[in-house]
Subunit: 408 residues, 2 copies
């Protein structure tokens, strides 16, 4: 498997584009994206678990129920959440506008929205922008880039990736784009991730592959723990790679799962690194656990703890906070056997052994924790061999500034 | 029931005192406290749910198992947590030192510790300070104040309260002191609350009264959600008020419960108000719920949300964040019937009705949210009539500064 360029348009048979349609007041950035396959795709989606769901989530879930999709239309600048019946109608009109322009069934169109909650979506601007949006479509990186820009809100970096691998000698590609600085934005409703692939794969297997990959990537990243009303991950598979269709849980399926997981992890890390106000990407790996769920619960508690996050900002080797966070995670483990060490480009420093302090150089620890990417490595020395990795970021003044500022 | 002065020493038959024994390097603040009843007390305790428990928690739980206690010795500057067998021995030596000096059984002494995690406790300093500590005991506000000062770590305000009420014509008093700016401190292990009363009450009723009061007070306050390794709430009842002993679930028991709940709520509010870096006390009340647990889960999710907390700091009427937090709380409710309003000394402003936006004056909202004490009032308009109130604080630059700074 190798990293390649092209993002959403890396796989064969996909076009993407984006325009400014006026949902955002300022035209300094595109706000309407379209991603299209030149043939109907096998599709799978995962959606926010928030009880308050945006209209786009409800409509996309309905349209993808049959496991089929050909296009995704997505706006930024307005979440179309807490907007009632009018919001649902607006989301349906977005799908219809794209379907009409593309000459396909509205149910083959998924809808994404991100932006302010509780404000009516000016859907007529989407409708009148369709001709221009269609014109913006292209099958190259430009197309991908325009679509990604149109998805972004307060993101400071583009979150994109693509990989290529082989199935029975056929090159297969997966491309992806994501927006969101983790779970939380001023009142932006947050994470959207769209994935394209030219693999040929049966709907149930595509669905299970997506669930597994998301569990080990997006579900293991946190900037703050707030789960938004609009979160959505969609994958479209058009089969143009010509690989023998993946129809059972075999070696090819496992290869596809590994590639998809890598794609999702690349985006998850990018989201954590771009966490609001973040200066560091914090990776926590828990090993020696009785099972993966225990390891995941512990690692997530550590990267989620505000005091661990603030210590990372201060490059403070404050390991007591790590044991404290593990202790209230709800996971079952033996504090007396835990060891903790910090690692980064600047080196490695063990700080805790058998649940208690060990002497270490504060100077070395500070330089290790002062890097842009730092790792918290925890060994439970428990019966099992299971491990899990979660990603987060530090808690900074800018986080407070971004989220304390007035809506604008 | 009326508020009175005196704190821990307000009830009859209690003395308190505090000294600097050298656990804290600087002698600018006392670091060793003693609270004593002149006779053995009926006692009850509640302890941290963190899997990582400080030695003081383990020893106090053991000593109070029989529901009897006469004295509490407590140090600040060292949490005596993650310190292994030596830590347990140190906690036992603290209890023994106090018991010997007071001429009582070590099992009648509870131990509290708060401060840095993972550093050995210099217990010999506690032992050699005993004569001076005994000398510092007094039955007035001075004594209470010295003990409270010795419990404090990064607290910026004294958290103390006392009430008086009548049981069959006898005046009964409850006094209390607490330390902790919520669940989280740099690496301070956090909340301690000691309560004294001269009420005569049977052990099982004292225990159930404490559990109910704590559930509705300390368990409904959050600064950040981190539950420390040292949290402890203890109540000592010496019976000197001479009231007919409370031995069943009757009107007198309910009066006692109401008074104890008020005492705990006073301290819980003080803890939230003194949250690290906090500029505002945020009170969230959820009503119209099917049951109290649902109301509590929703209110706690709102005051715990970093984006709600940051919005409060910015005085931003960002109600979408409130619905979002309610939505991921896990509680069952209908978003479509929710109404939200903000209230403070500056007035009241409804911002959301039936789960959707309603027009409001941003100017008024800003002035309402700019006060030191603000309320978020949520009506679920659900079948039930249950409600619950939780307390928190805003998220500020100073929170990050305090927690990002190096240990010192």
């Amino acid at each position: 498997m190798k990293q390649i360029d092209g993002g959403l348009c890396a796989p064969q048979g996909f076009k993407a584009g984006g325009v400014w349609c006026g949902i955002r007041k300022k035209n300094d950035k595109r706000d309407l994206a379209l991603i299209v396959s030149d043939r109907p795709c096998t599709a799978a989606g995962m959606y926010t678990t928030n009880k308050v769901k945006a209209a786009s989530v409800l409509v996309s879930r309905e349209h993808l129920a049959a496991g089929r999709c050909q296009a995704i239309i997505c706006n930024s600048g307005n979440a179309n959440a807490c907007t009632g019946e009018a919001g649902l109608d607006a989301a349906r009109r977005m799908a219809r506008a794209a379907a009409t322009a593309l000459g396909i069934e509205p149910t083959l169109v998924a809808v994404g929205s991100t932006g302010v909650i509780g404000v009516p979506l000016p859907v007529e601007r989407v409708e009148s922008a369709m001709p221009e949006l269609i014109k913006s479509l292209s099958a190259d990186y430009q197309g991908h880039s325009a679509a990604l820009e149109a998805m972004m809100t307060t993101d400071t970096r583009k979150k994109e990736t693509a990989v290529e691998f082989e199935l029975d000698g056929k090159p297969v590609r997966i491309g992806a784009a994501a927006k969101g600085a983790g779970m939380i934005h001023p009142n932006m409703a947050t994470m959207l991730s769209f994935i394209t692939t030219d693999a040929a794969i049966a709907p149930p297997l595509l669905d299970s592959a997506l669930r597994l990959a998301v569990r080990r990537s997006f579900n293991r990243v946190t900037v703050d723990g707030d789960t938004s009303t609009n979160d959505m991950v969609l994958i479209l598979a058009n089969g143009k790679a010509g690989n023998p269709p993946i129809e059972k849980d075999d070696a090819n399926y496992l290869r596809f799962c590994a590639a998809l997981e890598q794609v999702c992890i690349n985006l998850a890390r990018a989201i954590a690194r771009d966490g609001e106000g973040a200066t560091r990407l914090v990776t926590c790996t828990v090993s020696g656990a009785r099972d993966e769920e225990t390891a995941e619960t512990l690692a997530k508690a550590v990267v989620s703890s505000s005091l661990v996050k603030a210590a990372c900002f201060g490059a403070d080797a404050n390991w007591g906070r790590i044991l404290c966070a593990m202790g209230y995670s709800g996971a079952d483990f033996e504090p007396e056997t835990v060891s903790v060490r910090f690692r980064s480009g600047a080196g490695e420093v063990p700080v805790c052994k058998n649940g208690a302090s060990i002497p270490f150089s504060e100077e070395l620890a500070k330089s290790v924790l002062s890097q842009e990417e730092i790792e918290i490595i925890i060994d439970l020395k428990d019966s099992g061999k299971a491990s899990a990795t979660c990603w987060g970021c530090d808690l900074t003044y800018d986080y407070v500034k971004i989220n304390g500022d007035y809506r604008s």
